[in-house]
């Protein structure tokens, strides 16, 4: 067990190092001199040279890389070229909408997806199964922004049940906050519902054909108890993995959903940073997001033993 955790942590560090090198090189490969970008168009060569010296751009690449990593470990993600403020501060200002949207979407996708998967596996081959499997294929195929505009058109513009766009902080009341997040999170959750439902169904079908399920049926367990107590617990590990992996895609989806619904979150921050070529901000968000993804997956891998005590390392 101990050696497994150690190996797993080591490979996580290796992956983060790869991400770090990649993201670091991204800034170096970018066209244009970062010092010239900060100095502005009309700056003289002397000013640019001084900024280069200040930023340490004259040192060798490995030295610069080590310094950059050191800064990140201290919690300094650099300074935005355009806003002139620390990247971490910019990101943390935009974090609330993004986290609200992501968490709500994950809760929605996990509950609905697992329910759909269980129903489809329980009625395998039947009408419910066909409908849900069809929905899953469709859910994979419809792009987030198309669903978003359909929902906006029918539920916000035509029916006027929900606000069209925008975001209200949770501080302004739970209900208005939720009202603004219903359409975005439903939109964003559709592909994940499809994905989680598919994996849940496959995993449940595998478990349902096990001998102990026949034993459970023979001793007279109700179908509720069979599905939830006997099957779901044993089918849990793959479902959990998939929910963890979904986070990577979720963040990409958040960028688009925030644009569709005009939510001032971290996703908008990246898109704006790219349009203005604000590389420190792009770097900072990439490092943070990838780090989160890697840590979530590490936590999930390590929690297998909790879900399924049969797994030992």
């Amino acid at each position: 067990m101990g050696s497994y955790i150690l190996r797993r942590v080591c490979s996580t560090v290796a992956v983060m190092a790869m991400v770090g090198i990649f993201v670091f090189l991204l800034l170096r490969l970018a066209p244009g001199d970062p010092a010239a970008m900060i100095a502005g168009k009309s700056a003289s060569a002397e000013v640019i040279a001084r900024i280069r010296q200040q930023m340490g751009l004259n040192d060798s690449l490995p030295v610069q890389f080590m310094r950059w990593v050191h800064d990140i470990l201290r919690g300094d993600l650099g300074t935005s070229i355009f806003a002139g403020r620390p990247v971490l501060e910019l990101i943390s200002q935009r974090l609330e909408p993004t986290l609200s949207l992501s968490i709500l979407t994950m809760i929605l996708s996990a509950t609905v997806g697992i329910c759909f998967g269980i129903i489809a596996a329980w009625r395998a081959g039947g009408l419910e199964d066909r409908i849900l499997t069809g929905f899953a294929t469709l859910g994979f195929s419809v792009p987030v922004f198309v669903v978003g505009f359909f929902l906006i058109y029918f539920f916000a513009i035509k029916a006027r049940w929900l606000p069209v766009q925008g975001y209200l902080p949770i501080g302004s009341g739970l209900w208005p906050w939720l009202m603004h997040l219903i359409l975005p999170s439903v939109t964003l959750s559709i592909p994940y519902v499809a994905f989680i439902a598919r994996i849940t169904r496959a995993s449940m079908l595998e478990v349902l054909s096990e001998d102990y399920m026949r034993t459970a049926a023979a001793k007279g367990a109700s179908s509720y108890s069979m599905l939830f107590h006997h099957a779901l617990k044993n089918a849990g590990a793959p479902i959990l993995t998939v929910i963890g992996l979904s986070f990577a895609g979720l963040i990409g989806g958040v960028v688009i959903t925030e644009t569709v619904f005009n939510i001032p979150g971290a996703g908008r921050l990246v898109v704006d940073a790219i349009n203005s070529r604000d590389y420190p901000v792009i770097q900072g968000v990439l490092v943070l997001v990838s780090g989160m993804y890697v840590l979530i997956n590490l936590a999930i891998d390590l929690s297998y033993t909790l879900v399924d005590p049969r797994i030992r390392y």
């Binding site: 290796a14 992956v15 990649f22 198309v146 496959a202 079908l205 960028v255 569709v260 993804y293």
Partner: protein
Amino acid sequence: MTFPSAPIETLPTGHLRVSGFSRLARRCPLVLIGGVLLAALILLALAAPLYTGDPLNIDPFKRLQPPSAEMWFGSDNLGRDVFARTVFGARISLVVGLTSATGAALAGLMIGVIAGYSRNFDSVIMRVMDGLMSIPTILLAIALISLTGPSVSILIVAITIVQLPSVSRLVRSVVISVRERPYVEASLCGGARLPKVLWRHVLPSTIPALMVQSAIVCADAILTEAGLSFLGVGVPPEIPSWGNMISSSRLYLSIAPMTVFAPGICLAVMVLAVNLLGDGLRDLFDPRSKRRR
């Protein structure tokens, strides 16, 4: 909208045995539906100039017109024919989807075979792939594109790189399972050279899984292109692509919903066709999975 591929153990490694068209239709209707739908879309896109007007023609007097006999899907905010733009937009999606799928399949095959066969390179290559995988697809593609500015070719390269990890992981897993098989060992013991063994015995067994994965990659690439164009960092804005169309028309959603819905529905239909084809191929190559699924 990127997903990690399905768990590897559910993916097929069998061989393809099909005799006759009707048998294919009976065994795997999905391949047929998806294939016909995709073929129809490709034909419509290729023949676009024969039956539509100019997608770039601006007519300020016909802005945001509702659908009519002259302009089937109405016109957008610059008076351009939405039907013509939608049809021409299919070309971009198809080009991006098919080229990145082919590119990712070929490069992934090479990387996967090397990683699966050489224990020295394996851990290095796989850590690099893990690193690439842990950066969200859209952000990674955006970062790559931000280096050069938007263009169709750089978009294809970026999407191909983004898709590499899933393909090479899959190929690697198949290669690892095949390389221990008796027939591979027998052939090596018999004195066959390694490249020949790879070509004759290892490569063919990766083809079914690779084809299924290529379909998934293709669907994903089309969605990524549309998403990037929608964000304004994909195809340059003057080229009619579905993502660009939705992006430039979204302010007029309440006045002219067709300008957003027409490209949106086409996008969904195309991705659905590719996904059905992929699902069908999976069933075809691995009949076991169909019974289980």
